[in-house]
Each structure stands twice: as C-alpha cells, then as structure tokens.
Symmetry: C2
Subunit: 588 residues, 2 copies
C-alpha cells in the first residue's frame, strides 16, 4: 500500500471539514478474537486519512451513515470450546520435553498460533470461526527441544506445525491436521554467533526483524563490534515477522533491489529434520560441490524440517548515505522503460525502487494531498495527466559515492524518458508509512471493506500481459479498486504487486475472487509468488506454475526428508494434495 501521509500532508487535509468515522482505538478485550486479529502492536493504530475515506465512500457508493455502524469486530472472548484431540499420554510426553510452562492446550493459546494474517484468517476471527487448531502449542527452548519434539512426533505420527512471526498470508502456519504447533518466538530468538571478519551473524529462527536490526544497528554495544551493521531485509511485515519465516518462504524486503531477497542474504542454515537428520550447511560464499542445499531448503516452508538457525550476511549500517528521489512519468510505457534501463544500466542498483501504475499513482497522489493542488495543475499542464501519469520512488544505499552515483544515473535515465522530479519528499512520505499501512486493514474491515494483496514475478517481456490481463479480471468486478506497482527489481524483470480494495460481504465471495486473480496471474504467464511463498492457500496453483516434473522433485524431496508426512502436512506446497484437487484438505 502507498497510503502513507506525512504530518504536513495531514495538516493540509484537515482544512476539509467533514465527518470522520469513529475508528476503533479502544482496549482490546483480553483473550478476544480481536486481540488475535489486530495487526502488530496492541496499542498502535493507523487510520485511513480523509482522502482515503473519501475515496472509499465514492468508489463503493457509501455514505457517512455506513461508517457509523461497524460490524463483525471480533470483540468476543475466545470460548474454551475445542478440546485437544491428542491422547493424554502424548500431551504428557510433549509437555515433559519443554516443561509445563511451555506447553499449552487451551483454545486461546492454540488459536493465537492457528492462523496467519491474510483476509481469510482475519475474516474467520471476526466471525468467531475456530477451525484447524493445533492440539497443543509448545514453546521450544533449544535446538535439543526441537530434536526431541520431532523425534517424538515422527515416531507417533503427530503433525508438527511451526509458527514464526505469524504474518503468513498463505495459510502457511495453519494446523489443518491438528497436532503440535511450535511457537518459535518465545525462546528461540537469540544470537548464536557473530563473526565481524566474515560480516555474518547466526541467529535462531524465532528472532524477529526488529530484534535482529536492534542488535545489528547497535552492534558495538550488543556484540562488541567495531561498527553498526544491518541485514537490509525490511519486508512490510518487518515488525511482525521472524528470520525463520523470511527464510523458509523465500521472502523479500522492500530494499531487496540492492540487498537481495532473503535467499541472497542467507549464507547457511541449520535444520532439524525427521529421521534423526540434522541438515547443516556450511558458511562458504560459493562452492561447486553438488546441488546447492541452501537453495533447496529455502522455500521448503516447514515441510522438510524445522529451521533452527540461520547465518546471515551483513552490510554496514550507513543511513547517512541514503539518497531519496521520486519521479512522475507521463505514462506507464515510458515509466516501465525507464525502470528497465535503470536495472540494466550497470551503474549500481537502487535500494528501495517502486513504480506505481496510473491507478495506483492517482490514489497515491490523492492520499498525499496533491490532487487538486497547484502542483497537480502544473503537472497536468506539462502533460502528466491523471489516469496516465505514473509515480516512481526510490532510494540508493551503500557507500556514499556509490549511492550518489546511483541517484545521479537514475535521474539521468528518468529525464531521458520525460519524467519530472517530485523530489525525495514523496519517498519520505512513503517511508513514514512503510510498516504502518497494515494497521489500516482493521478499520476498513470494521466497515465491510476488504483490502488484500497478491504478488507475482514477471520478466520484462511478459510484464505487460500480466499487468493488463490481471487488472482486466480485477475490474470485471464492479466498484473495485485495483492498484498495481512494480517493486523488487532485477535486470531481467520485477515483482508485480496487486492491491485490491472492495466491498465484499462473504468469505466465499472473497475466495472466489482471489481464486480468479490467481488463475489470471497464471494464465498470463507470471510465476505465482515472488516473496509471499506458496503455503497451503496457493498450493493448488503450484503445479501449473512449476510444472509436473518440478512437482515430482519436490515430492521426492518430501519423501526423503519426511516419509511419514508429519512436517506441516495438509497441503503445504501441494506435497500431499491429490492431483487436480484444488481444495485445501480439512482436518479430520
């Protein structure tokens, strides 16, 4: 989303006197559904600004009155309704491994780790739907705990699920077969080792993004280092994601154009697998000794084993060098060409780099308060017209001269394609909201408005077919906003990210619509996921994406690592989906 607003812009907007909904900021009832579904910090909020509110009213043909009556807010207390189906003997044995304080069979603790954060998860929580619960939640304290749990569960054929930051949008963590869910955040969140000479840090998989960056950015104090470091991995879910989740799903940070996706940042991994297998890779920057096992385990999404530890490559933390820029282009074609030239120019890569299509650019300029101002008129007069113009924004990181040169060369390419600079202030506005936009989902949903995202990977040649084909499908549904941007760029293509906002009343309607979008992403030739992973939700499309022979390899690996299918069973990566069946297996 690009709905960030600087304080200045908020002040500009406040001149418009109008009704504003009473967005919820109350106390979250203890052990309520709302306490689970709310994004992030229990006490933090970010509400839609007036421009977004106005846009929604207009698009969805709603009046102020609609926004006086929130519904399905999920304020009910989670009932103690779902008994654990696990034998008492198993409960006792598993509890003995981690200790009584770290084993939980009550519904509240099980529901907390049952769902991720995609629309279907939030909608179920709002509706009080409790399904696919794990039977017991364990908080492992050590690698040895993981080993014991996996050994026990494999022996007794008890499914094992892994819960990291909880921000999955693919039903990746959902315990559709019941069994055990491991909450990695509670104890497995520590630094294992730090090697300043190698520029690496090894951490436990449950360490969160902010915990990691806190340690690195204060490395002289926390690690006795000579300077500050960063991993540069900052996904939108940064605050509520963990290193292990990034790794097993092949995630990407918003600065990945410079820092790389997580698979470029990970140097080594340590997995606890069934069959008493411990798969540890070694910390070498390159090798020619057979298939690359790091690249084979990343993307396994918990289906081959439990990721205990990750060694990450570090960069120097040098925010003082960051350069910011933004440009407005006359049209989508010239903007795309400029982006491609930047990526193929060999002058160094931008860090953040984003390009919004005309629909998203219009929304963004509305939200940033540019719509209807003198700047708007000036842009229109110079040929940057609403409905056609496109907004590009970005940063350059790295050593000072490098960042300056990248900024300089981006400017040169953009000017050659007729773009006008809109300065680094737009980028600052975006940065201001970059991790906070997810907070707005609750407000929208309180009034029956669904916002969700899908992303895919394209190359330059099929980019336009995917963009226009998917958007055409999205708009086949009336009164739907579909904003698209390119982010995470490469010399050979980019990530294409669709944000759709609609009034959708039922979960079935939502699922049918989402399914249609996925069909069209596939039909027009994109690969199904650039960085969200596949999980159980997108698994039915996986074979159509990678082909039957790749699926056969995935299944052969699954059979090798987990012949009894105890690791994240029930659809993950379509490993145990019957051929041709697109429905998610249900719990027994």
């Amino acid at each position: 989303m690009t709905a960030g607003l600087s304080a200045m812009e908020e002040r500009n907007m406040s001149r418009v006197k109008a009704f504003q909904p009473d967005w919820f900021e109350g106390e979250l009832p203890r052990k309520s559904f709302r306490a689970i579904l709310k994004w992030g910090d229990p006490k933090a909020y970010k509400h839609p600004n007036r421009a977004l509110y106005h846009l929604m009213k207009q698009t969805f043909r709603l009046d102020d009155d609609w926004f006086r009556h929130p519904r399905d807010m999920g304020m009910d207390i989670v009932p103690e309704a779902t008994p654990s189906r696990l034998d008492q003997e198993h409960v006792a044995s598993l509890t003995a491994i981690v200790g009584a304080d770290n084993a939980h069979t009550d519904t509240w603790n099980r529901l907390r780790v049952a769902y991720g954060k995609t629309m279907i998860d939030l909608a179920r929580l709002r509706a009080g739907i409790i399904e696919n619960l794990p039977d017991i939640v364990l908080w492992p304290r050590s690698r040895a705990d993981l080993r014991s749990i996996v050994d026990y569960c494999e022996h007794h054929r008890i499914p094992v699920y892994i819960y990291g930051g909880g921000s999955s949008v693919t039903r990746g963590v959902e315990a559709v077969k019941g069994g055990v869910s491991l909450d990695m955040r509670v104890h497995l969140n520590k630094v294992i080792s730090f090697d300043e000479r190698n520029h690496t840090i090894s951490v436990e998989a449950g360490m969160s993004g902010p915990e990691l960056e806190q340690v690195l950015r204060h490395a002289p104090a926390t690690l006795g280092a000579t300077r500050a470091y960063t991993c540069g991995h900052l996904p939108q879910s940064f605050e509520y994601s963990v290193v292990g989740g990034w790794t097993v799903t092949r995630g990407a940070g918003q600065n990945s154009t410079y820092y790389g996706k997580i698979e470029d940042i990970v140097l080594a991994q340590d997995y606890v697998c069934p069959g008493s297998r411990d798969l540890r890779t070694r910390e070498f920057p390159a090798a020619a000794n057979g298939p690359d096992l790091d690249q084979l385990m990343m993307g396994s999404e918990g289906a081959f084993g439990i990721l205990y530890g990750v060694t990450l490559k570090l960069r120097m933390y040098m925010p003082e060098n960051t350069r910011r820029y933004s440009y407005i282009f006359r049209d989508w074609d010239s903007a795309k060409e400029a982006a491609r030239e930047v990526m193929q120019g060999e002058f160094g890569l931008p860090s953040v780099f984003r390009l919004s299509d005309p629909e998203e650019s219009d929304v963004a300029l509305k939200l940033y308060g540019v719509d209807g101002t003198v700047l708007d008129s000036y842009m229109t007069a110079r040929g940057y017209k609403p409905g056609e113009r496109c907004l590009m924004l970005g940063t350059a990181d790295g050593e000072k001269g490098f960042a300056r040169h990248v900024q300089h060369m981006v400017a040169r390419v953009c000017r050659r394609h007729g773009a006008m600079s809109t300065t680094g202030l737009v980028t600052r506005s975006w940065e201001h909201g970059r991790f906070r936009d997810p907070y707005m989902r609750e407000d929208l949903q309180d009034f029956g408005i669904m916002i969700d995202t899908l992303e895919c990977s394209v190359n330059w040649t099929n980019l336009e077919a995917v963009h226009s084909g998917v958007r055409s499908y999205c708009h086949s549904r009336p009164d739907t906003i579909c904003m698209t941007h390119m982010s995470h760029f490469y010399p050979q293509g980019c990530n294409l990210y669709f944000i759709f906002i609609a009034r959708i009343d039922s979960l079935d309607e939502y699922l049918a619509y989402q399914s249609g979008i996925l069909d069209n992403i596939q039909k027009y030739g994109a690969t199904m996921s650039h960085h969200h992973g596949i999980g159980k939700a997108f698994a039915p499309w996986l074979e159509g994406d990678v082909g039957p022979e790749a699926m056969a390899v995935y299944r052969a690996l699954k059979h090798h690592f987990d012949p009894h299918n105890v690791m994240n069973p029930g659809g993950t990566l379509a490993l145990d989906l019957p051929d041709g069946d697109r429905r998610l297996p249900k719990g027994e």
Copy 2:
C-alpha cells in the same frame, strides 16, 4: 598461472643470452595421443619464457642437458586396440537415432572424448594408457536425439556420459562404466533464442565460450540487436569449455567478482532426464514457489540428466569502460585485509580481482622481468621485500562512472594499507596470458615437470588456516613450487587457488601427492571446490565436505532422476561410491 609476458617484457628478457630448450612446435601426428592431449588450438603454442626456464632449472636442480631430451611425448598413433563391448544390436539402434555420420566406435574417436585435461589424463595419454573408454560416441543433433538416446539407454541400462569442451579437471567426463558418450560440441552449439528486452540468450549446451561471446559481442550483426552484449563468463579454459560444462559443474569465470559465478548468470535450464522426464525451469528473475530447481540442477554434473539448453543473463559489452590497476603490498596480512575491505566496502565490486601470496608474487615478478631491475631495488628499499611482498591486480567493469568509482575506491583502500601502485600495465600483462598459460603444460611435461592446480572456497575467518596448512603440506615435499592466489572474491570470503610445480616421475606419486593436498584442504576447513566441480576425482572427499545428510539428499535426488544409474555412473559426486571407499570404481 600468472606467467603471462608482454612483448616488451620478452624483449627485455632476450638480452640474457642462454640456452633455450627446443620446445616442441612440430606437426601433431594425425590420430596420435599427442593430438588429443595438446591443449587448445593444434597450431598454437606458448612456451615458458627464460625466467620460468631458469626458475625451473634452479628449483628442480636440473641443468640445460636435462632439457635436451624430451620424453613420453605421446607421439604414437592411437592403436585400434579396444573393441567396443556394446552388442551390435545396441550399436545399430543408437546409430539409427543419430545417423551413421554421427556414431563412432573406433578407438580414436572414443579416446578423444574419454579423458579431460587434468594431469592424470595427460599422463595417461603420454604413456599410451587406454582405459575407461566409452563403447560408442554419438554426436546428437537435436533435443529429440537426446530424448531418444536417454530413453533407449535407460531401457537397456547402458551408461550415458556427456562430453562438452573437454577441459574437465575432475575426471568428470570419464566413461568408467563404458557405454555411450555424447559429444555435444558437434551439433548442439546453436543459439535457441534471444530476448533483448529481458537481456537474455538461450543456447544449446554444446556452444563454446568463444562461440557464445562471438555472437554476443557482434549482436547487432548476429542477432539483430541494438547493441553488443557479453555474458562476462571467462574461465581460464574459456577457449575449450562449453556453456553446458560451465553450468553443470558450477563454474566461475575470471571476472566473477563482478559478473558472478555461472549459477548467478544462468536464468533457466532445460534437462532431458531418464524416465521420460523433461525438466525445464522458467525464465523468472526470482520466485518464492518452493525449492530453487535451477540451483539444484546446477552441480548435478550429468548425473541427473542431460542439459540441453541454458538461458543466460546478459550484460552490455563495454570494454571501453574497463579500468585496470595493480598494487604491491608489504606483506600478506595487509594485502588480505585490503582485499576484504574492498569486498565489504559497498562501493561496487571489481571485475577481475586477484591477490598473489609472497611465493606467487616473487615468481610473477620474476616472470614479468622485474626481478633484479631498478624497480625491484626501489620496491625493496621502500619495504616491499622479496619473500614478503604481495601483488594484487584487477579491473573494474560496468558503466563508465561505476567502473571509475570502483577503481578510485580500490586505490583508496590499498593506499590505506600501505600498498604502492604498480599500474594497470601489470594487469595488461596478466590479461595477455590469461587464456594461454595452459599451453605451457605440454612443454613442462615434455621434460618431466608436472604443473597442476587445486582450488577451494574459504571464508575470511578460515582463510589463513587453509593457506598456511595446505602450503605447509605442499612444501613437505622437497623442491616443489607452491604458488597461491586469491581470486573470485565475495564479501564473505574468496576462492583460494594453489598451483604446484614439481618433478614427479610417476602417476602414482602424483596421485598420492594430490590426495594429500585434498586431505589438507579438507582438514583445514575449506570447501572442496569453488568452481572446478567434484567429478569422479574429488568425489571421495565430498562426504567429508558436505556431510552425510547432504550426501543423503544428493542420493535421494539421484534415485529420483536416475534410479537405474545410467547417467554418468561410476563415482560422479560419490553417488554410487560405497561408503568409505575412496577409490574410483573401475570399468568392468
């Protein structure tokens, strides 16, 4: 090797009047062993210069007389001595697939593709040893031919070997179980498709390095492109290696610090596997849809299937932007630190980047004619002393301003570590000989002197243990030259490359010595190969490198792709080696 000499330097050297051996430049007897063992162009030679000749005499305590009598030159004609063991029915069927012109059972044609180019291969050819021959050599014309051959061979359990450029130094191509060898160079050397928008080219696996670069550097004429391109992949074996060999062994070019190893350059692959499996990956720059199959197939070394086609990422060919530099450091420690700082400096990466240790630096300066000159005295006086000083050389590629900035920052780092510039001329000398040094091996071997190389991957933290440990072993053998350099750099470490020159009389003595070096590479913690692959020669060390669980994954993949073990059987990646057995399986 760093024995390149510019014409100017040759002139300087020629002032010294002395005996020079009568290095062989005669006609290669037709169908002789020599015609197979000779490196590269049958009519091209590069002989040791006077400095190298003097060094060898001195080190190995030889006199001019020794160099009057070459021996074991392999001038004999290959005898028609080894009948094909394949049933006539199979010969007929396989011949029917490719046509009579493309099927060969004579010893000469079989021996031509039997060995690679490591010392054991050359020594066997010199000694007239014919072993491990394929029973038939096929020259497939198309993907369909490959499919038919694999289907037939799998059905009849006939081993299939693949011959690319023939420059393997790991016994990778050797048909130790007999059967079929496919020579990919003859027909499968064409461009499949070119996508200028994506900056990609797809080629058949048998296309050689020079063929590929010829097409790309003249892309306006050859491909109708708007400009010239390059892959930037220039291994020392460039002239006698093919795209498929680079890919399946995870090779690296000498400019890999900027362009990446082949696994960074490959975007997609197309394999013909047993079991009627066609594994084609898709051309996306990134994805989060399960394990990365490209990274799983690269490194499979022909044991999972036959690589038919490869899609490669392109860069702009801009030799006019290349910057060259070289520096001399006072000692190994300061030089290593400087190299590490360059790689971790985030100002852009060098392209060629090499750092020689004191022993190699002394040899290099001797060969470049610096030894004993005024420059030598000047360096020594300033504290850059023989036996301690280290030579770094490199280039910067990319867009003009980028390359200039990299060069500028490298200079800054080197000066901070007390280095003195020795200018880009040294780099030009190195470039002059970069692909031609292998030609000298014949001359040395003609007089009983063995030169060979081993390489491994280290991180910064274990670099010194590996360097000193391996060198210590190498020097435990008297009168042995062991030169070491770092090349192929990363922020987390580098490739460490050992060149040893010795008077070794027997193959067994050579193998025992090589084995000891490999033991020590492993003992001191390096990973066994950075870019030569594993093949059959290094396979016995693979489990000690990657560990038993990684080996189990490799074997599970082998079982999936090739359950009847027809693809490159007999030791490749230790997939069919009995546990603990370090001997190469022999043919029946």
